[in-house]
């Protein structure tokens, strides 16, 4: 099985399931109910008491969305460099090395080919545990490559976003990834291939302000924080309290910014359904549209 092979490849580094606290029992971060860890994992990291969606490790996300044994990884052939020699309280190069070791992957994203209820997709999943899922040159490149390969292989693209935004340690080059990922999506558009974006907690900054909100269909997970500027930045700017639920998925649904809030348990089915519907167009002859049409 491809997925198992991929899991094996991660060894001997620790898998990202370690992102959840070790031990038999864990506490729901919303209602504080003690949950049996195995149950929480079996419920896709959703609290069975209050329905709170905990942040989900990348491997578990892929296992949840991809049909069994269908995932074939694409990412991993590009590795980040410290192009600016960025040092704050700790050198970026050291931070990178430490988090790479812990995560067992070169950067904050995994992409690959998968089937979702039989629909052929390219699946990209961002890793919030990896430097806050921030987008530097490598995350941008993996997204661009996944979008381009999806177009070549006539696959839909499913993006599961989770990110603090552009990675400041790579400076303006990170900012440019917003444009890079955007132009790389054009091949999908011109071939009429669906791009579905799933915004998970949290999706912010330059990621929200680029590929993550350019989906033909945009879903969000319940209560996910989704914004351009973070709540603290806004509070500091306007010196006022923010309305309840501000910048949460349900709020954005009411404001008309996303297509739906989809509970995790229904996500796979919903993705397959909309991709199937978008690919069921019979009104137009198959062919390509010019970019920009």
């Amino acid at each position: 099985m491809a997925l198992e092979r991929w899991f094996r490849r991660q060894r001997p580094t620790r898998g990202d399931d370690d992102a959840t606290p070790a031990g038999l029992w864990v506490k729901c971060s919303a209602c504080h109910t003690q949950l049996y860890r195995k149950d929480l994992v079996a419920h896709h990291f959703v609290c069975k008491e209050c329905g709170h969606h905990e942040r989900m490790p990348v491997t578990a996300r892929i296992a949840m969305l991809a049909d069994e044994g269908s995932f074939e990884p694409w990412s991993g052939a590009v590795r980040p460099v410290d192009a600016l020699g960025f040092v704050d309280v700790e050198p970026y190069a050291d931070r990178l090395a430490a988090v790479q070791q812990k995560a067992g992957r070169p950067d904050a994203i995994v992409t690959g080919a998968a089937l979702i209820e039989g629909e052929r997709v390219a699946l990209a999943v961002m890793d919030f545990q990896f430097l806050g899922g921030s987008m530097g040159s490598v995350v941008g490149e993996e997204i661009a490559r996944a979008a381009e390969r999806a177009a070549e292989e006539e696959r839909a693209l499913v993006m599961v976003a989770a990110s603090g935004g552009a990675r400041m340690q790579e400076g303006a080059l990170s900012l440019m990834q917003m444009a890079k990922t955007t132009v790389a999506l054009e091949g999908l558009a011109s071939r009429r291939l669906p791009y579905v974006s799933v915004l998970t907690d949290p999706t912010t900054g330059g990621v929200t302000a680029s590929f993550a909100t350019l989906g033909d269909v945009i879903f969000a997970e319940p209560d996910a924080l989704i914004c351009f500027a973070g709540p603290r930045v806004i509070q500091q700017t306007i010196k006022q309290d923010l309305p309840a639920g501000f910048q949460r998925a349900e709020f954005l649904l009411r404001k008309g910014m996303i297509d739906d809030v989809v509970p995790r348990g229904e996500l796979k089915r919903r993705l397959a359904t909309v991709i199937g519907l978008l690919r069921a167009g019979a009104a137009m002859a198959p062919g390509t549209l010019p970019a920009g049409a």
Partner: protein, 318 residues
């Protein structure tokens, strides 16, 4: 009003003025002395500006008296006509749009405008656009495509405005949409960072075929203050953050983020605004001329290519 590091320059200038006044008053010839001081002044200014720290460049980029985007527009656009409104929510004075001519050919102008004084700054929201501003920009991009007009975008913003209404109206969505809209332009686009290029709010109108930057302008993924607040947990560390972010024109040229640096007059654009806007005008004209004659497909392809290759990484050959 002098910037902190400009104090020795300002002092010397004052001394020269004083000596000139004394000479005039007392009818004595101090030409030689004054000329010597002026040479010293030029040396001092040259020295100072050749060795500015990155943080000092940030201060120059934000200096009062620095030409604003519309000051530059006045210098290279003939017959500028401002067009208002996004046709949906309102009109955003932080992002000015309009039509005009450059070397006889029609252009669409997009300009992020800071105020020249406090009152105008409040009106302009310090150059921080709301979603309405980006919607207006996109509407003008449509117009540019429809009528075959080149787009000239002048970037000068601390960033897109972080406020409640801005978030509710989809600030992230319009920036993403504007990046995409601009990347699809079938007409040539030239962007010039004239002051502050603040993150996504700047890039939203920065997806151009040629990206220029003024010598003392900066372009960054995050402001030094915000970066310092996050990375050092202290906004006062902004000077160190500016160093780390490598956000000066020379840095950006080296990173391949910009194509060309427009030299500023000695002492910075605020010292000689007329010379600064003239230099920008010449550079924009040359950039537009260089893109003339390209077909729509080629324009889209080469622009996409420019951005597709942004970044530094190691690629495994396997």
């Amino acid at each position: 009003m002098a910037l902190p590091f400009e104090k020795p320059i300002a002092d010397l200038e004052a001394k020269i003025r004083e000596m000139q006044a004394y000479a005039d008053e007392q009818q004595v010839d101090l030409t030689e002395e004054i000329s010597l001081l002026q040479q010293r002044l030029e040396r001092l200014t040259r020295e100072t500006f050749a060795h500015l720290t990155r943080w000092q460049r940030v201060l120059v980029a934000r200096a009062p008296g620095r030409p604003t985007a519309l000051d530059h527009v006045a210098a290279f656009v003939d017959g500028f006509v401002e067009l208002h409104g996004d046709r949906a929510l309102g009109d955003d004075p932080a992002l000015v749009a309009g039509l005009g001519r450059v070397d006889g050919a029609g252009v669409v102008v997009l300009a992020q405008q800071k105020g020249r004084d406090t009152k105008e700054n409040i009106h302009r929201n310090f150059g921080m656009a709301h979603p309405s501003g980006y919607r207006k920009a996109m509407r003008m991009m449509e117009m540019a495509d429809k009528f075959g007009l080149a787009v000239v975008a002048l970037i000068d913003t601390p960033g897109a405005y972080p406020g409640i209404a801005a978030e509710e109206q989809g600030q992230a969505w319009v920036i993403a949409e504007s990046i995409r809209r601009m990347s699809r332009l079938r007409v040539p686009a030239v962007a010039v960072v004239v002051g502050e290029g603040g993150s996504g709010g700047a890039l939203a109108i920065g997806v151009a075929n040629r990206v220029l930057i003024l010598e003392n302008a900066v372009y960054s993924v995050i402001s030094p203050e915000s970066c310092a607040a996050i990375r050092w947990r202290d906004a006062a560390e902004a000077p160190r953050a500016a160093e780390a972010l490598k956000l000066t024109s020379a840095d950006l040229l080296e990173q391949g983020v910009v194509d060309e640096v427009v030299a500023e007059p000695l002492g910075g654009a605020h010292k000689d605004p007329a010379a600064a806007v003239a230099a920008t005008a010449a550079a924009v004209r040359a950039a537009l001329a260089g893109l003339r004659g390209l077909g729509g497909d080629e324009i889209v392809r080469s622009r996409a290519e420019r951005f597709r290759h942004m970044g530094r990484m190691l690629v495994d050959s396997a």
